[in-house]
C-alpha cells in the first residue's frame, strides 16, 4: 500500500491538499452556492427562505420596483442602484487618496537608511495591529461635534476672538471617507514600499548618467517599477472598502449607507435573507469584474504579496 503511494505522485499531492480542499469546499464553495440559491428565493413571514426560482431580488436591486407612486405598475426606484454606486465611488475615492498619501511615505521609508528602515516600517504597522473597530472609534472621538477637532478649532477661534460654530463632521460622507482612508492606508504603504525597495540604486545612477533630471527619473524609472506594489495595494484596499460596513455604520450613521450596510441590514433587522443574498452576490460579481479588468491592465503584483 505504501509502495503504491510512494510511486503515485499525483495521489500524494491530492492527499496533501485534501484537508484544505475539503475546508474550502464546505466553507467557501458551498456557502457561495447556497447564497446563489437563496437569492432566487422569497422571504417568508418569519424571515426564513422559501426556495424557488425568481429573479425578483435582482430586479429590485437594479431598481425596477412595483412599489410605485401615482399608481404606476412599474417604475424605477434608484435606491439600491444609488447604494451600489455610492460604494463604488467611495472605494474608488478611497483608493486614490490612499495612493496619494501612501506613496510619499513608502518612498521615504524605502530611501531611508537601512538601519532605520525597519523602525519606520514598524511605526506604520503598529496602528494596523491595534484593532479595526478601535481605530474607527478613535475617529468618532475626533470628529464628534464635541470631539477633539472641534475642541481644538474652538479653542483657537476663542483665542483669536472669532465666532465659532462646531463643524458637523461625524455622520457625513466625508467622515466615512476619512475613516476608510485611515483604515486602509497601511495596506497600501507596505506593497509600494516593497516594490520601491527592490529598485537597485544603480538604476538611478544609470538614469542620471544618461541625463535624466529627478522628475524624469521618477516618471520613467521609479514609477513604472513600483507599479506592481501599487496594483497589489489597490487590490488590498479597493475590495475591503467595497464590503466594509462598520466604518459607514459608526462614522456615517443612517446618512451613509453602503452595500455592506445593506447586506448586513437584510440579514438582521429587515430579515430578508433572499434580498441580502442577492445583494451579496452582486457585490461579489462587481468586485470580481473590477479586479479582473484591473489586473488585466496592470498585472497581478503577486510578487509583492509574497513579500
Amino acid at each position: 500500500m505504501l509502495k503504491r503511494l510512494r510511486e503515485n505522485k499525483s495521489l500524494q499531492g491530492t492527499l496533501l491538499v485534501s484537508p484544505t480542499l475539503l475546508w474550502m469546499i464546505v466553507l467557501l464553495i458551498i456557502p457561495l452556492l447556497l447564497t446563489l440559491v437563496v437569492s432566487f428565493g422569497t422571504r417568508d413571514a418569519d424571515g426564513g427562505v422559501i426556495y424557488g426560482f425568481s429573479f425578483h431580488n435582482y430586479v429590485r436591486l437594479i431598481g425596477i420596483s412595483n412599489d410605485c407612486p401615482d399608481g404606476q405598475a412599474i417604475c424605477y426606484n434608484p435606491l439600491y442602484a444609488e447604494i451600489l454606486w455610492r460604494s463604488l465611488s467611495l472605494a474608488f475615492n478611497t483608493t486614490v487618496l490612499v495612493i496619494l498619501l501612501a506613496y510619499p511615505l513608502a518612498y521615504f521609508i524605502a530611501r531611508a537608511h537601512p538601519k532605520r528602515r525597519n523602525t519606520f516600517l514598524m511605526l506604520v504597522l503598529v496602528p494596523l495591529w491595534t484593532n479595526f473597530v478601535i481605530r474607527v472609534y478613535a475617529w468618532m472621538m475626533l470628529l464628534r461635534e464635541q470631539g477633539v477637532i472641534n475642541g481644538v478649532l474652538g479653542w483657537i477661534a476663542a483665542r483669536l476672538g472669532l465666532p465659532f460654530e462646531p463643524l458637523e463632521m461625524l455622520y457625513t460622507p466625508g467622515a466615512v471617507l476619512v475613516g476608510m482612508v485611515y483604515e486602509f492606508l497601511p495596506f497600501m504603504i507596505l506593497p509600494i514600499f516593497t516594490s520601491l525597495e527592490k529598485i537597485d540604486n544603480s538604476l538611478y545612477e544609470a538614469a542620471a548618467d544618461l541625463g535624466a533630471n529627478p522628475i524624469r527619473t521618477f516618471q520613467r524609472v521609479t514609477l513604472p517599477l513600483s507599479m506592481p506594489g501599487v496594483v497589489a495595494g489597490t487590490i488590498l484596499v479597493f475590495i475591503p472598502v467595497m464590503g466594509t460596513f462598520i466604518v459607514s455604520d459608526l462614522l456615517g450613521g443612517k446618512q451613509v449607507i453602503l452595500v455592506g450596510n445593506l447586506i448586513q441590514n437584510q440579514f438582521l433587522s429587515a430579515r430578508d435573507p433572499t434580498f441580502g443574498s442577492a445583494a451579496s452576490l452582486l457585490l461579489m460579481i462587481m468586485t470580481l469584474i473590477v479586479t479582473y479588468f484591473y489586473t488585466r491592465k496592470f498585472g497581478f503584483g503577486e510578487e509583492i504579496v509574497a513579500a
Binding site: 484537508p19 447564497t35 472621538m141 475591503p240 464590503g243 468586485t287
Partner: protein, 294 residues
C-alpha cells in the same frame, strides 16, 4: 545617489502622514485617563487616590487614581471572557490553518494532480472577495444546516445546534488558510529539491527527509504564515460577526457592541491595553530578530 531622498516635499509629507496615522491613537490613549465618565470632552486626569468619589459626571477620586478605568476594565467579566474567546479562537485556528495550509502549499508547489487548478482557484477567491460575502455565505450555510439537523433530530434547548465558538473557529480557519498557503508557497518557490534528494540518498525515507531537512528549511515561511493567520484571526470582525453566537463574543465584537451603547473611558482603557500589548510584542520580535541575525 538618489536625487529624491533629501527632497523636503517627501520628508514633510511623510511626517504628516505619520501624524495622521498616530493622532487618533494618541487621542485614544489620552482619553483612557479621562476624569469624565461620559467621555465626550477631556476633563483632565483624575486627581487623587482614594475611595471612589464622583461629582456629577466627573470622577474626582478613585482607588486607582488616574488608572481608574483600567481597574474597572480588569473587573469587567465580559471583557475577560471576550479576551479569552479571542485568544482561544486565534490559537486553534492558527494551528489548524498553518498545518493544512502548509500541506496544501507543498501539494500545489510540488505536485500535479487533477484537482490542482480547482484548489488554486478556491484558495484565491477568499482573497479577492469582500469578507462580508464569505460571512453571509457561511451564515446561510450554518443556519440552514442547523435548522435542518435540529428539526430532523428533534433537538431542543441545550442540545440545539447553534452558532458559537465552534462555528467561529471553523470560519476563521477557512479565511486564514489561503493566506498561509500563499506565504508558504512563496517560500517553497525558491526551494532546491537537491537537499531532499541528498537526504534520501543518505538513507532518509520521505518522512525523515521532510522532518529533518525540508521543514527546518521552510520554517521561516511557515512561521510567517502562522503569524499572519494569528493576526487575521485576532483582528477579525466581519466573519466573526456573522458566525458568532451567545457566549462566543470576541473582543472586536464586544467593543462594537459597547460603541453602540454606552461609551465610557473603559473602551479607551481597553484600546490602550491592546496597543500596549502589540507594542511590547513588536519590540520583543525585533529583539529576537536582531539576535538571530548574529
Amino acid at each position: 545617489m538618489n536625487p529624491h531622498r533629501r527632497h523636503p516635499f517627501i520628508r514633510i509629507t511623510a511626517f504628516l502622514v505619520y501624524v495622521f496615522l498616530y493622532a487618533p491613537v494618541f487621542i485614544l490613549v489620552l482619553y483612557a485617563f479621562n476624569a469624565s465618565r461620559i467621555n465626550i470632552l477631556f476633563e483632565g486626569f483624575i486627581p487623587s487616590f482614594g475611595p471612589l468619589q464622583t461629582d456629577g459626571s466627573l470622577v474626582t477620586q478613585s482607588p486607582c487614581g488616574p488608572f481608574h478605568w483600567f481597574c474597572e476594565l480588569s473587573r469587567n467579566r465580559e471583557v475577560g471572557l471576550a479576551a479569552r474567546n479571542t485568544l482561544t479562537i486565534a490559537f486553534i485556528s492558527t494551528l489548524v490553518s498553518t498545518l493544512i495550509g502548509t500541506m496544501a502549499a507543498i501539494a500545489i508547489q510540488r505536485y500535479n494532480f487533477r484537482l490542482k487548478a480547482f484548489s488554486q482557484i478556491s484558495l484565491y477567491i477568499p482573497i479577492v472577495i469582500p469578507e462580508i460575502v464569505m460571512g453571509i455565505g457561511i451564515l446561510i450555510l450554518f443556519s440552514q444546516l442547523f435548522g435542518l439537523l435540529n428539526g430532523a433530530f428533534g433537538l431542543e434547548g441545550d442540545a440545539r445546534l447553534s452558532m458559537g465558538l465552534g462555528t467561529v473557529i471553523v470560519s476563521h480557519i477557512a479565511f486564514s488558510v489561503p493566506f498561509v498557503t500563499l506565504v508558504v508557497q512563496a517560500r517553497l518557490a525558491g526551494f532546491d529539491k537537491s537537499f531532499e534528494e541528498a537526504a534520501m540518498d543518505l538513507g532518509a525515507n520521505e518522512l525523515v527527509t521532510f522532518w529533518r531537512v525540508t521543514l527546518p528549511m521552510i520554517l521561516p515561511g511557515v512561521l510567517s504564515g502562522a503569524l499572519l493567520a494569528f493576526t487575521l484571526s485576532l483582528d477579525d470582525f466581519v466573519i466573526t460577526f456573522f458566525t458568532t453566537g451567545p457566549g462566543a463574543t470576541t473582543l472586536p465584537i464586544y467593543v462594537y457592541g459597547l460603541l453602540r451603547r454606552i461609551i465610557t473611558p473603559q473602551v479607551n482603557a481597553l484600546s490602550t491595553v491592546w496597543i500596549a500589548i502589540v507594542l511590547a510584542a513588536v519590540l520583543l520580535l525585533q529583539r529576537l530578530q536582531a539576535r538571530e541575525a548574529k
